[in-house]
Amino acid sequence: MNTENAEKVDISSEDTVIKIVNMHKWYGDFHVLKNINLNIKRKERIVVCGPSGSGKSTLIRCINRLEEHQKGQIIVDGIELTKDLKNIEKVRSEVGMVFQHFNLFPHLSILENLTIGPIWVRKTPKREAEEIAMYYLEKVQIAEQAAKFPGQLSGGQQQRVAIARSLCMKPNIMLFDEATSALDPEMVKEVLDVMISLAQDGMTMVVVTHEMGFAKSVAHRVLFMDEGEIIEENEPEAFFNTPQNDRTKMFLSQILH
């Protein structure tokens, strides 16, 4: 994995794009997220890992309000997420999200999947939206499939289309919710490569993943979550070589064999 350029991205400035303060979330009585505090700077790349059920997906789904938090604050790009629908739509149009199961729109062609956001949310003229779409399809190396429907593509291709669909909205932040977990093993690399090239372009990324290789080479910071709490956070090298918490050690020993 080529990350030479990625290392050069400057994150020293104090430009915080996501700020989460004392945030709690419950599903009914079940306390899913407990007192989350997190600052993410512009161009920073965060990898969130942890055992299943630890709340890592819920955490990033709170960032674009697919899940509602009950206590504390989430501020994305200067906009606080509250019940205000206008703010939510604004944040969502600035934050791209890639899902485990792609969630492409099966009744629309690949090109239409990509243009629907720019046309309807950004009010971009159709011609221009199509140009943007083709640019990003080119970028994820799938331009020749533009006229096909999602059902005709492989899982890896679909996930790359899903990434391109988010990029067409020109987001400031990209969230990846286990983007490679549902893929056949031979397709994981093509999706990771796209994610790495995004990283090289300086995209702010929050990535929930089990791909520890990706975490090591791309992340600025790795968070470890368990039972709804952020147990440990550190730079990748320190995180993997000298984990502090026992639960982190156990998780790493299980996942790295």
């Binding site: 899902f99 099966p106 629907i116």
Partner: protein
């Protein structure tokens, strides 16, 4: 190229004769076991003893000419149709100006057949529909441009059946979708109203709604105000069908993957955009077969307006049958209108299959 070469080298072994052709087919599908052989023989003999006499009755021994004396022939008396088709098809519409309803129906049928092809769906077709509706209304009602005015109460037969069903179904479908969306809504007032409406309407028979519209509803109107009976029946049919459509559409909405909503949300589409662009196109596609079932049965149910004295196709047929000359020939008359209903329903169901095929983008 390699594949071709490999194929050429393969020895082609033909299947044994008994497995192909008519004999093979018969052996496989009709005589595969003793039980099937017996069933085949029984069914063939039943068909033989029923279909042959029916064809003889309907085609060979029958008389066709208008005003023929049917009492002497042993077969079907299609004269009842050829003598009375004007009454059966058009009710009491003045017979000297039947070209007007006929033209209106021709316009309607041609527009419907053009609209079958989704490639023609554009603004021009929309305007054609609007203009044609005005023209059809004008043709039927008259009173302008020197056309003799015809009272709406005189619209009967197939005119009324088509009017009630075409407008009933096209108005009921969008209303049903709104009700389904309302029932899924998070706003308690709207949700409660929709549930109440749907359950109430589904809980009563159409006949009782028609009675309400024709007998009870006028009691509540201020004196001197009257609303046309056809319109009242039309509204009753729309309200009734919409409740059933709503439940069918709700099934489609519930069948949608949650990921589709989330993906639409994550792009920043608002509720209306999400529904219109993402959810409804998929949900409605899933429910084409059950929706068409509802529409077909609603179409046939329009014949219930007989009960409140509207002269639809069924009632005009009954009127003909009540003439002494044609008593005893109800079978022929009912077969004729059954055929008309069948053609319309068959049209709807073939169209639904065509639509399903066209909209299938899964390509699996």
């Amino acid at each position: 190229m390699e594949l071709d070469a490999a194929n050429e080298n393969q020895v082609i072994i033909k299947p044994p004769i008994s497995n192909v052709g008519i004999i093979g087919w018969m052996r496989k599908n009709l005589f595969s076991s003793p039980l099937n052989t017996i069933l085949t023989i029984i069914i063939v003999s039943i068909l033989w003893f029923s279909v042959i006499p029916f064809l003889k009755w309907a085609l060979i021994d029958s008389c066709w000419l208008p005003d023929a004396d049917c009492k002497e022939t042993g077969g079907a008396c299609w004269s009842i149709i050829s003598s009375n088709y004007k009454i059966i098809l058009f009710g009491f519409y003045p017979q000297n100006i039947l070209w007007r309803p006929i033209t209106a129906i021709v316009i309607l049928v041609s527009l419907l057949s053009i609209s079958r092809n989704r490639n023609y769906w554009n603004a021009f077709l929309g305007y054609s529909w609007l203009i044609s509706l005005v023209i059809m209304g004008l043709l039927l009602k008259g009173g302008l441009f020197g056309l003799e005015s015809v009272d709406i109460e005189k619209w009967g037969g197939i005119i009324l059946t088509l009017l009630l069903s075409v407008f009933g179904l096209t108005a009921a479908y969008p209303l049903g979708i709104l009700l389904a969306l309302g029932r899924q809504s998070e706003m308690p007032v709207i949700k409660t109203f929709c549930i109440f409406y749907i359950e109430l309407i589904r809980g009563v028979p159409l006949i009782s709604l028609l009675f309400m519209s024709s007998v009870v509803f006028p009691l509540f109107l201020p004196e001197g105000v009257s609303i046309n009976g056809i319109l009242r029946a039309q509204v009753a049919i729309i309200l009734f069908t919409a409740a059933y459509i709503a439940e069918v559409v709700r099934g489609g909405l519930q069948g949608m993957n949650k990921g589709q909503f989330e993906a639409a949300d994550s792009i920043g589409l608002n509720y209306y955009q999400t529904m219109r662009l993402i959810i409804l196109p998929q949900a409605l596609k899933i429910v084409i077969p059950p929706s068409v079932s509802v529409l077909i049965s609603a179409f046939k149910d329009t014949s219930l307006v007989v009960i409140i004295g509207l002269y639809d196709l069924l009632k005009t047929t009954q009127t003909t049958l009540s003439e002494p000359k044609w008593m005893g020939f109800s079978a022929e008359a009912y077969i004729f209108i059954a055929l008309i209903y069948f053609i319309c329903c068959f049209f709807m169901s073939t169209y639904s299959r065509k639509l399903e095929k066209e909209l299938n983008t899964d390509l699996k």
